[in-house]
């Protein structure tokens, strides 16, 4: 049964890009036409900023996941659209275990998700090592959420510090169904995609149809490596996923992912980190492929960066490289570093590992570099801030 599409009105205001980098946070603010951009001074210079998110429910509350090379992880929060910041009183932390047992410690907070419109002040956070946390006071205090952090089966699927990405496995892509706050998804690299329909009391893996690295069993969640999962705001029954092993689409209530990346050009392949979906049309989505051959260089294929768009839910993909360097551009776009706004003609934003921000005001048809010489970019979120 297909759910009715949700009508979201396009927006038309100035855009603020919230940029997390390896050495601090920045904002880039546009005019209404998104033609001119102004870069802020660095915020929390020297901190490793994995994610900054503005709460769309009030457009004033912002949370920033921060750590440094030596200090422990924390979350900074602003309630005045980024003018002032305060630290969370109790950042996400695993429970202390009894003497003699080996407990886990949060290395960094990786992902932040504001919850449902009917649950103001509720946020979710995903961490490395992999854990799921919830705040009910706008990010001021955090508690472990659900049973998964301590469940033996989930802990086995989560693996150890050696089983995920180089700086630790990450729980990410925490998605809340805009129709029902009890309907949740999250993803783990590694550990697969998981769904709850009862507000986190139980979760079940959603792995059917997903490939894993050759030689491993696709029925075991441990071997699944989702890179980025997105839920379509205009049709919450449709999810897209950029995975370590391809690009996928899932149309609920089916629980079988379809590998739509097989329709990508063979010489490009369907490997990458980020994926974004059109806010008003669930048939449109973008990826930013990278080289996943041999030893995984994780750079733009052949040094020629390009986004690829599908306008028919993955049946066909079109290259979008106008404005990008034509050669010798050996950068990567990380999973949180591609974002979109909600204008009628959607704006797309890409942050590179080389510290550049590229923008498109026309859904990827042309691209312009709007900032350079930033530190390595980890995340970009496009927001419209309140006054």
């Amino acid at each position: 049964m297909k759910s009715p599409a949700i009508s979201l009105n396009p927006t038309a205001g100035p855009i603020a890009l919230l940029i997390g980098t390896r050495k601090g946070a920045f904002t880039l603010k546009s005019d209404r036409a998104r033609r001119t951009w102004k870069l802020s001074a660095p915020l929390f210079l020297g901190h490793i900023i994995h994610h900054i998110v503005c709460d769309p429910r009030d457009r004033r509350t912002m949370l920033m996941a921060a750590s440094t090379g030596h200090l422990g992880p924390t979350i900074f929060r602003s309630t005045d659209a980024g003018k002032t910041w305060k630290e969370s009183a109790t950042p996400p932390a695993f429970p202390k275990v009894p003497e003699g047992e080996k407990g886990r410690s949060v290395g960094h907070v990786f992902w932040l998700t504001p919850c449902h419109a009917n649950e103001p002040n509720v946020w979710y956070a995903g961490t490395s090592p992999q854990g799921l946390f919830r705040s009910e006071d706008g990010g001021a205090t955090w508690k472990p959420f659900s049973y998964i952090n301590d469940d033996p089966q989930y802990r086995e699927w989560m693996g150890s510090i050696q089983d995920g990405t180089p700086d630790g496995p990450k729980l990410h892509s925490i998605l809340v169904d805009p129709r029902n706050p009890k309907h949740l998804y999250f993803a783990m690299s590694g550990g697969g995609v998981h769904e709850s329909t009862d507000g986190g009391k139980t979760f079940v893996p959603l792995l059917e149809g997903l490939d894993v690295v050759e030689g491993f069993a696709p029925t075991t969640a441990t071997f699944h490596d989702p890179h980025c999962v997105r839920l379509c705001p205009s049709n919450p029954d449709r999810l897209y996923q950029q995975n370590h092993c391809g690009i996928y689409r899932l149309d609920r209530p089916s629980d079988t992912w379809l590998r739509i990346g097989k329709n990508m050009p063979k010489k490009i392949g369907d490997i990458g980190f980020p994926m974004v979906v059109h806010p008003h049309n669930a048939d449109i989505a973008w990826v930013f492929p990278m080289d996943g051959q041999t030893v995984w260089p994780r750079v733009s294929p052949d040094g020629k960066p390009a986004a690829y768009v599908t306008r028919n839910a993955g049946k066909r993909w079109t290259r979008q490289d106008k404005g990008f360097p034509r050669s010798n551009a050996w950068w990567t776009v990380k999973r949180q570093a591609m974002s979109n706004d909600a204008h009628e003609t959607v704006g797309l934003y890409v942050g590179t590992t080389q510290g550049e921000i590229w923008a498109s005001r026309n859904e990827g048809a042309t691209w312009t570099c709007i900032a350079r010489h930033l530190p390595e970019i980890y995340s970009v979120e496009a927001s419209e801030l309140g006054r």
Partner: protein, 86 residues
């Protein structure tokens, strides 16, 4: 006793590089430090009460790995950020 605060943590101590804190053990000193400067302890010590990987704590000139270590009133505690990388 005197606790030396590294530059990376002075945003918590109103930019003071030295603070006077009482405690019979390192753990008590860190708890008292956090009471006075909320949030500072978690940046130094994990939720499992271990010293974070790139933090070192010296008492006088001797490195301590265990926060249960007893202290004297005359001891000087140095919290050090072990910097690495570019």
């Amino acid at each position: 006793m005197t606790v030396h605060i590294p530059g990376a943590l002075r945003s918590y101590t109103a930019h003071k590089g030295e603070v006077q804190i009482d405690g019979a053990t390192l753990a008590e000193v860190l708890t008292a430090l956090d009471r006075r400067f909320p949030g500072i302890r978690f940046r130094i010590i994990t939720e499992q009460d271990t010293i974070r990987p790139h933090i070192r704590i010296f008492v006088n000139e001797e490195q301590r790995h265990d926060v249960a270590a007893p202290l004297q009133d005359t001891d000087r505690v140095y919290i050090v950020c072990a910097l690495s990388g570019g």
